[in-house]
Amino acid sequence: MTAVTYREAVRRALRDALATDDRVFLMGVDVGAYGGCYAVSLGLLEEFGPERVRDTPLSESAFVGAGIGAALGGMLPIVEIMTVNFSLLALDQIVNNAATYRYMSGGQMHVPLVIRMTTGAGRQLGAQHSHSLEGWYAHVPGLRILAPATVTDAYGMLAPALVDPDPVLIFEHGALYHVKGELPDDLGPVDLTTAVIRRAGGDLTLVTYGGTLPASLDAAEQLAGEGVGAEVIDLRSLRPLDMDTVLASVARTHRALVVDEGWRSGSLSAEVSARITEQAFSDLDAPVGRVCSAEVPMPYAKHLEDAVVPRAAGVVAAARRLGA
């Protein structure tokens, strides 16, 4: 076991992937000489050279599309997009090409591509660098959407994502990069398909992922002090969704609260809530609750940003409203 930051864990995963498979290469804006806009790839250019750690011009559509083409051509590209907001410039390539080629070609072609990007708020970066749009991508058949919330997943999800023959998008929450955790030295293969119970409890199920896992765990701790056992489920994979784990928990707790940094309207939290209602209605003792970001573009001022995103206090208050 070694304690590392989430950032170091991703970097280690990238280094191991580059070292073990010649087909792997990393590309994106400032991944090389600059060291990555969040310093994730720092040192990799020096170690692996400019062919395999490729700085790209600012052209999200072209370099994401080039990742798709290179994947079709026999490589295993890892494309880094600085921030989910910028990925919108590559939405065409991701949604119209990466997600469709296998299907449109009748199964002849596939796109073994990994796209990593930062998501989320918490760093006072305002309305064009802070949104949580991963739920949009989770809407799209043909994509696998991952949201590592722990150091172990930050390290462990990359290798199986590269083995996946289809496109995988990995969302790294910007506020997690400095978080430290234990990384087991003998980490076995990490499963990409299942949600994980991060804390057991019998009175309420908190369903969350990515950047809101820490707040949800804090809330569970506070609720425990009040004698309420909150079970915290980390979805890990936003597409496909492991509803079995969620529904099994709800069958025990009879109450569910979804915590999601995305906006509420038309969102991933709406999807999870709908599925619980569709599939476990009779298990519920209360309507499914949700704690989401306020429906505003992300403000800059610290107190306003804090008021937008889900925090432990808001989760605790919502749990009380459910009668837990």
Partner: protein, 332 residues
Amino acid sequence: MTDADAFPGMQHQVHLLRQMARIRRFEERAVELYSATAIRGFLHLDIGQEACAVGVTEALEPDDAVVATYREHGHALARGITMRAVMAELEGKVEGVSRGRGGSMHLFDVATRFFGGNAIVGGGLPVAVGLALADKLRGLPRVTACFFGDGAVAEGEFHESMNLAALWHLPVLFCCENNRYAMGTALLRAQSEPDLAVKAAAYRVPSWSVDGMDVLAVEEAANRAVEATRFGGPHFLELRTYRFRGHSMYDPDRYRSTDEIEAWKERDPIPRLATALRDAGALDDGARGRMEEEVAAEVEDAVAFAEAGTLEPVEDLERFVTAGSGVPGAAR
């Protein structure tokens, strides 16, 4: 007859004529099937532009790749995908080259390295850059030929892709089929700089502008361009051409004059080459007639194949979304 029986030294030209005739007759038949509702959706015809697809694909090696647009029946056939597989695709049959999941606009074939059939204007260009990047990283001396229209030149993806391919010296041959219109928008109404070669030059990509109504000229330019691309990075080929039909089957063609269309039909690449071959004594009327009969027979065989084709069972609807999808128990 086979093209090898033609006048010695001219077999190849006869082959080019046959390839263009195959595309023309295939599409004319597709129009009939469209009217008979056996084919639906968008159907974009290559008619008038056949010399572009034929001339360029002739210059490619089997291991090279093609990325095309929604107007790609000609490219698919010229590249060697069978008429049967394309016609069955147009009819939505499981025997189609994309199992009926793609349709006219999304022909894919791994065997001939035919990477679609992209119906987003400009959307194929970044993918072509990536295919070439893979070849470069793998040390494979292959070329990716990327076809697109004059309309795509206004898209950001064109400019991003030209820049990236040039910056990284990637073997992409950009083939712009300039038929002067993007749906109803004439080039001069869409481009501040209508000379497309000038745009290529801005990225330091060498370019040629060619008469796209002359298959021999296209092939000659393509031969040079393909080899230059294979070892020297991206090149740009502007193929000056014209579509004789509307943009798609829905197009009432209000934006062009009959005079203009008729003038371009005078330059039809098929009679142009046929006449030249006849004048050279390489293909007399009898041989030409036999070629047409053979092409017609191939088309009818493809139609019969498509009509006899089967439909993908609806239970298989969710297959091929991802590797394991559509099989019972797969996660969604």
